[in-house]
Symmetry: D2
Subunit: 169 residues, 4 copies
């Protein structure tokens, strides 16, 4: 059960530039997180872009969708900035079918001591193995269907757009 991991940047992969005091992207930290988690999953990692999700355009999202469609795996995890993660999920849902796609990210960069990134990655990799085909967001220990999720900008917490009857999310 091979899994494809696409990285796109986001808070997840930001680092601190000690020469100018700014946050920036260098390399993805995906490999070190998988090593830290002692992961034995068969994964292929493909960095697609390294950007803030606020800078993500329709073209970027189309590229991600194309990569999801064309890759041979039907289980896909995407690391993504949290601000527009729900928007990208909606685009993917329209274009990618028959595959389980889980988007995740981090509120604090991996390289900073108190990041949620390792927890979220463990969570996303588990959901992608166990959820039926569809597009999901995995944050805060939970998963959300692509059509029922938003990031609450005041609290930084992901939540449903509307109550879920079955209470399964």
């Amino acid at each position: 059960m091979a899994i494809r991991i696409f990285t796109t940047g986001g808070t997840f992969d930001k680092e601190y530039n000690e020469l100018n005091g700014e946050l920036y992207f260098k390399d993805t930290h995906m490999h070190e997180l998988l090593t830290l988690g002692r992961s034995r999953l068969p994964v292929s990692i493909t960095p697609l872009m390294m950007i803030d999700s606020l800078e993500m355009t329709a073209e970027h999202r189309n590229l991600i969708a194309e990569e999801c469609k064309q890759c041979k795996e039907d289980k896909i995890v995407i690391t993504h900035g949290t601000d527009t993660m729900a928007e990208t999920a909606r685009v993917l849902a329209k274009k990618v079918t028959g595959k389980t796609v889980v988007l995740t990210g981090a509120m604090i960069p991996i390289k900073f001591g108190s990041s949620d990134g390792l927890f979220n990655l463990g969570s996303a990799l588990a959901f992608v193995q166990s959820l039926p085909p569809g597009v999901y967001v995995a944050m805060n220990g939970r998963y959300f269907n692509w059509d029922n999720v938003r990031k609450n900008r005041q609290t930084g917490i992901f939540e449903e757009l509307k109550p879920v009857n079955a209470g399964t999310e």
Copy 2:
């Protein structure tokens, strides 16, 4: 979808005693891990014991099974030492039915910088939400059915007892 978390000790919760240089148990680190992961899952945490899994007896395992049966939640995560995790899974499988039970742990204590505990917890909490009733071990990013898992003592890696046809694990 409430989740019950039982903690039993294991490497996961070990700390370093700086007065005598030995590893010991003080408190569970479950709360701080859930905070670190920005978890918004409705969980109840119940510490059952604080022991090395090599010291776990049939009585301990019976106690865990009873607690699993009696708690009102049907989704249960158990943190457990890795050495006998598979053995406890087999005991639980015989006694607990109709619930999804996921055992997980850590190869390195949470308090040490390079622990896999946060990754494993994210993974276990995701599997418990998405797998059908049954008893599972979640380690190395993967999940294993209770009747097809062992810890390889030479490598420290969890593996199947026998090949899985469908390749879903």
Copy 3:
């Protein structure tokens, strides 16, 4: 041998705001660093300001100098942004006499995993106990007299303005 610690902000005390992705100041991390270092030194900690050292004005520097002169201790450590640390050292040297003043800081915020702040603090607290009265910068494991130090903006490393004959720095 009481020591006064003044904090002024700088990279040292920056944190990551997970709601807007910006770096900001909340509280000084001085207490937790002293606890982490198991320090048993008699220190008084006084936060004077919480600013980037690029925003530090003549007024800020005068305030720091006044505080150094008026405090009862004759051993003073000041945490400070690295960009203008040498400039503040020159102002203090003109106004504060008969006291040992050591400025230090960090290239990476304390809260980020790979900070030099704990090392620098250990170093500054040692120098303030053992150097004769004067104003010094303690960075990169070394100490520099106030009149012979600059931060090299290209490398981020502190260095002498001119070679030191005795080679003691």
Copy 4:
């Protein structure tokens, strides 16, 4: 001003063996600590042994003393287990003259998140540059003369054997 660093093991360099759950020695972490501290000091690092200081014999101490005498540097930092650090200091004081020797260590291994090792190393490297010839212990942010120091086994804190008049320690 070259500095020699001798490593001897101790809590400082212990690691967690994830296969058997025991603490053990692999390599010294001195290089990574100096990198983390952005140290620009000219140092030579020589691992002499990798043992618990409770296992240190007269022969081990003689070896350390010989190395201190024979190395070309007159500024020496020694990392050492805390339990018998004061005893080794006394042996060195009798055999090594005309050099500044600073022993330091850690209450918690470097590899564990909450170690005092980086703070202590920053402190020891500063003291070795600024104190007159003699043998010292640097722990808890303080320095102690070799003939007036012990580790309090109840508290884990280093303290004077007798009060110091001048109050300079």
